[in-house]
Amino acid sequence: MRHLLSTRDLSRDEAIQILDVAEDMADVANREVKKLPTLRGKTVINLFFEDSTRTRTSFELAAKRLSADLVNFSAKGSSVSKGESLKDTAQTLAAVGADAVVIRHASSGAPQTLATSGWIDAAVLNAGDGTHEHPTQALLDAFTMRRRLHGAASRGKSLDGLTVTIVGDILHSRVARSNVWLLDTLGATVRLVAPATLLPADISTWPVTAGFDLDDAVDADPDVVMMLRIQAERMHAAFFPNAREYSRQWGLGDERLARLRPDTMVMHPGPMNRGLEISANAADSSRSTVLEQVANGVSVRMAVLYLLLSGSAEL
């Protein structure tokens, strides 16, 4: 594995290996010294063209726990706001000796361009590109599911037989896309629920079943319900009449929460719009994995950085 651009090109063995290494990384957080010397002398650059708190912080912590040097580079307040192109920015980073570039960009495919253009030799990690993919989020979601299911005996296990319902703005969601490919690879069954206006046109080619009715999906007794954020910044057209109607039809409110099994996982990639796609009770219930997802994010990103930056050959 040279870059991590998409969960679509991960094989089942590679995906399970990343999750297994993440298990070992998770143990580091419980130690006296929460640091490993493994990536000493490597430089990781966080290149964020879009706002982010948890992903950027998570990558930063992951790199630092592995003793890599990390530089944060955000588009605001940098030369990008003066009109520098992606190519020039990338070459600047290459010139200062970056070993890995973690990139978030509003344009789908920007990480792919960076990885394949020949501008830099650094490993490229996609931290979210447009409406395309957000692979580390999907990996940490799968890791969280696996840990809830198998606890300490998670190593080596897949997600065979798990049923996952993803609800909300599928059309604009890179989290949904990355999750669909990864969950399918790991053997889970995925069902998507969204307003008709927020389902992509090519949904029939995805390895999922899709529907419009959340109540049907809740009654189908899923193992995992993943709520997606309504992304106000991408709502350029009227995809649904108003927030209240969305919340009533596609929000995980108290009444739907009560119909789920006590051990059904309620997931949300964050940041949450409480009261819109998820009620406060759902977000704070014992079913909710939201905080575990954040904690696991660091472990999964440590695993990915380790696998990309140490060693010289294939994964």
Binding site: D27, L36, T38, S312, A313, E314
Partner: protein, 176 residues
């Protein structure tokens, strides 16, 4: 390639029994003792030593696992290594005597990595090293306190330790 068996199952058991007694002797009993195996085969050996210690002096066989992958000095320039599990017995290693267990002592670099890893888990009172086979060719100032068998080898020979728990058979061979 020829393979010559140097330790039979009974030899391995005798060596581990002797090492266990030596550990108890040098520690003056089984107090504050932790046996940490280095994956992969060191872990199996550590569990065997733990069981023998337990049979001699109940309560003395606390066993854990210490993965050293992330501390190795040869990570670059080799295929990516998958790390293994680290498990420190409850109570931690502070103030204890830790006995590291590995199958073969060669360059000493694995043990160097293990000492670094150990330092991130706490501060033991003393660290000892037990190995089934010492084959020489040290590259660092490291020696074993408890040795199953000293096997002078040349650098192009290969020592293979096979244990029932992992390999299904039990033997130590020299391949050249």
């Amino acid at each position: 390639m020829t393979a010559r068996t140097v330790l039979q199952p009974a030899d391995i058991t005798r060596a581990l029994t002797r090492i266990s007694h030596e550990i108890l002797e040098s520690n003056r009993g089984g107090e504050n003792l932790i046996i940490l195996g280095i994956p992969t085969r060191g872990v199996a050996l550590a569990h065997r030593i733990g069981a023998i210690l337990e049979s001699i002096e109940p309560g003395s066989g606390r066993v854990g696992e210490l993965d050293v992958t992330m501390y190795r000095d040869d990570l670059a320039g080799q295929p990516t290594r998958a790390p293994a599990r680290t498990h420190i017995p409850a109570g931690g290693i502070d103030g204890t005597t830790v006995v590291l267990v590995d199958d073969v002592l060669y360059s000493g670099r694995t043990i160097r990595a293990a000492l670094d890893a150990l330092g991130d888990h706490g501060r033991p009172r003393a660290v000892r090293l037990a190995v089934l086979v010492d084959r020489g060719h040290r590259e660092l100032p490291i020696r074993a306190d408890f040795v199953g068998k000293n096997l002078p080898t040349s650098a192009d020979e290969r020592i293979r330790v096979r244990l029932t728990e992992i390999d299904g058979i039990e033997e130590v061979t020299i391949e050249s």
